[in-house]
């Protein structure tokens, strides 16, 4: 699968601090790429660099197989839609007039405005001033602006920020429909794992400006395999019993952690413990949530 966006050794320095450090992103074509990270991790800075709104300190950015530079930036961005931080609009103009400004800049026909208004379900509110829109409507207007011209790539920075649950669901459904309905590759950032979990197929996790994970979301899910925790009165003896059966276990918080086994096998080991006079006091199934993995990856677990 070809990559829509590739960054190589991308860095951004603010004074003495590194906002983004040696970032090697790879956003495949036709997917929703979730760009996940805590607040201040460098998500917006990275997206701004991709869009040419911030200048990288070092590193390269390739979009549509072309390395972005000052000269070709706008030509490349012609096929890109974006929504960075909060939606941009003129409060004194109507929704339609706002979109007219963007469509004029992008040299698009007027019927394109009606198409995107319909897509974000704002056609009934198009003649209302954007300043009178609710937050959800403003966000949808921003999304409509990004969708003008049916771009190949959409870069969305926290598009559901500040929305109520119904608004979040609406925007999420719209984003999820974009790759298969219009063939748009979406790069969407969020600090909320659950949100990315519901939208993205691929994921990049950034923390402290560094990419700590990048792969299919399913790979991250695989890391959340269940394990069995056993607490006995003699963990040392229990461990040797398990090891003698070829079961690798590790001790954590007074419990022995073993891979998930079938009930039949597990029952057999307990009988063995009883025979060896090892008292079993607790058995539980432990499963790492995606949140645990995210916190581990971003190093936030310690801070919390």
């Amino acid at each position: 699968m070809a990559n829509m966006i590739t960054t190589s050794g991308l860095c951004k320095r603010y004074g003495a601090a590194m906002g983004v450090k040696d970032l090697d992103l790879a956003v495949p074509e036709g997917v929703i790429y979730g760009f996940l990270g805590p607040n201040g991790a460098g998500k917006s800075t990275t997206m701004k660099m991709i869009l040419g709104l911030a200048k990288p300190t070092c590193g390269t950015i390739t979009v549509f197989d072309k390395q972005v530079n000052r000269k070709n930036r706008l030509a490349i961005l012609k096929e890109t839609g974006s929504l960075i931080e909060s939606p941009s609009f003129y409060t004194h103009l109507t929704g339609k007039e706002n979109l007219k400004i963007i469509s004029t800049l992008k040299e698009l026909p007027d019927n394109e405005i009606d198409r995107v208004l319909k897509l974000v379900r704002l056609e009934d509110q198009k003649n209302k001033k954007a300043g009178q829109y609710s937050l959800g409507m403003k966000q949808r207007l921003g999304l409509a602006g990004a969708l003008l011209g049916n771009p190949r790539l959409l870069v969305l920075d926290e598009p559901t920020n500040g929305l109520d649950p119904a608004g979040i669901q609406e925007i999420r459904e719209l984003i999820c429909s974009l790759p298969h309905s219009f063939g748009i590759t979406v790069m969407v950032s969020s600090h909320l794992l659950s949100e990315i979990d519901q939208m993205a197929g691929h994921i990049g996790v950034i923390s402290g400006g560094e990419l700590v994970f990048q792969d299919r979301l399913s790979v991250l899910h695989d890391r959340s395999e269940s394990r069995i925790a056993i607490r006995t009165l003699d963990n040392k003896a229990a461990r040797s019993v398990l090891n003698s059966q070829g079961i690798v276990c590790q001790e954590e918080g007074g419990c022995l952690l073993i891979p998930k086994l079938s009930d039949h096998l597990l029952a057999g080991y307990f009988l063995q413990f009883l025979k060896e006079d090892i008292g079993v006091v607790r058995i539980e199934e432990r499963k790492k949530t995606l949140e645990d993995i995210f916190l581990e990856l971003t190093g936030m677990a310690v801070k919390l």
Binding site: K48, L53, L74, S88, Y90, L93, E97, K106
Partner: protein
């Protein structure tokens, strides 16, 4: 051209012209008050008096008009956080130029309105001085050029600062600095941008301390002043444009 038309489309409904018209209206009212009940001698120097007094009055009014216009044209981008949207679709330099041209056209319109007002007032009051078409044209060019240079400075601050109090305070302070500098030697006047309405005026006031008579006369164009102003304009515009295009969003 498209970018300039877009600027006009953006300010639609912002009623920028209302503020400009109100300040111009004040200037007109002052003119009508100042040129009421004129004697025969005053009527024989009607146009020259108009050109002199309007130049002095412009030192206060035009910088304010320039500051307010630049502020209102740039503030809508700050309020709407639209730079990060626009600059993915157009070069920053083009946006900067379009804003400047849009605001400059407003300034040129004010200069033209002033010239028309002087003509109308001359006819209404019955000025007996021959109509000085060349001097009026020079007045229009000078007023517009000085205002546009001040506008260039105001636009830099209006674009770089999201808090529009900064450029407005600079505009008001500048207009008063320009007015006070008119009482200072010409060498110092030329160091104050806002004083160029007076520096470049083609009318000179003669004060005879013995007879206590004030007389006005036309003087040649101060080309060195024009050159200095042109240099200041180029420096301000290019520096401002460079800062704006390099600024990260």
């Amino acid at each position: 051209m498209r970018a300039i038309l877009l600027e006009f489309r953006k300010i639609r409904g912002r009623k920028i012209w209302v503020t400009i018209a109100a300040l111009f209206g004040v200037q007109c009212l002052w003119g009508m008050w100042a040129f009421r009940d004129m004697s025969a001698k005053e009527l024989s120097q009607g146009y020259i008096q108009c050109l002199y007094r309007f130049s002095v009055f412009n030192t206060i009014m035009m910088p304010m008009i320039a500051a307010i216009t630049a502020s209102r044209i740039c503030d809508l981008e700050h309020k709407g956080q639209t730079f990060k949207l626009l600059l993915t679709a157009m070069p920053a330099g083009v946006l900067y130029d379009a804003k400047f041209i849009c605001a400059s056209l407003h300034m040129a319109a004010v200069g033209a309105a002033q010239a028309i007002f002087i003509i109308v007032m001359g006819k209404a009051a019955g000025f007996t001085e021959p109509f000085p078409l060349d001097h009026l044209f020079y007045y229009l060019i000078t007023t517009t050029f000085v205002t546009v240079t001040i506008l260039a400075l105001q636009q830099v601050f209006s674009l770089l600062f999201s808090n529009q109090m900064v450029p407005l305070v600079i505009g008001i302070t500048g207009s008063f600095a320009g007015l006070f500098s008119l009482f200072l030697p010409p060498g110092i006047q030329k160091g104050v941008l806002w004083s160029y309405y007076g520096v470049l005026t083609q009318v000179k006031m003669n004060w005879d301390s013995e007879t206590k008579i004030v007389d006005l006369q036309y003087i040649p164009v101060d080309w060195s002043g024009y050159l200095l102003l042109a240099g200041a304009f180029a420096a301000i515009y290019l520096t401002g444009r460079w800062c704006f295009t390099r600024k990260e969003r």
